[in-house]
Symmetry: C2
Subunit: 113 residues, 2 copies
């Protein structure tokens, strides 16, 4: 199976605290965990920022998974000390949606290559 055939596309969302935007941008301009995301077979990762009608700021993420074992790759990523430190930095800037404790996965309803 080629990467093209096995790619899975993810859309994720989370709130972000107004007062943390500048710090979050600065953090994400750097090298951060870019290498670990690629090691976890995550590609073409974008994060977008938008103010929604409730007045809150939200982040919307998009990435493609090109590996063969998503659960294993995510477990390895989550266990990596540098990723744990990274998430600790981000966690205090973000506001998970009610009833969740991190990024929420959205449902894909359309895809056109």
């Amino acid at each position: 199976m080629t990467e093209l055939n096995s790619v899975r596309r993810f859309g994720i969302v989370i709130g972000i605290r107004e007062q943390c935007i500048a710090e979050y941008r600065q953090l994400h301009d750097g090298e951060g965990v870019r290498d670990l995301l690629r090691l976890a077979n995550m590609r073409n990762f974008s994060i977008f920022l938008h103010r929604m009608p409730d007045g809150g700021l939200y982040e919307f993420g998009y990435y493609e998974y090109v590996g063969g074992d998503y659960a294993a790759d995510m477990s390895a990523l989550e266990a990596h000390p540098r990723n744990i430190a990274w998430l600790n930095s981000c966690d205090r800037m973000q506001i998970p949606l009610p009833g969740t404790n991190g990024w929420s996965e959205m449902e894909s309803i359309f895809f056109n290559a």
Copy 2:
């Protein structure tokens, strides 16, 4: 310039009426304007659905533009009779964010190839 070098990534958002979800899904399962989106140099187009903390359902779109003249391609797309009919079908199902009259473009704050 190769496609890889010139690609621009877009994130867009709009509300959708609860009672229109089934019809919207069905419409987007078909051929619709998939050919016109590709003609307009839009690639890798996903739409995700999620209920946000305000209780409303929203659609989040992601696509990549691989052409050389975005404004011209969008103008040609918007003027195409089949696309006009398509947008008319979608418009009554969607709720643009306050102060807008269609999909809102989000700001990209992170990208990792």
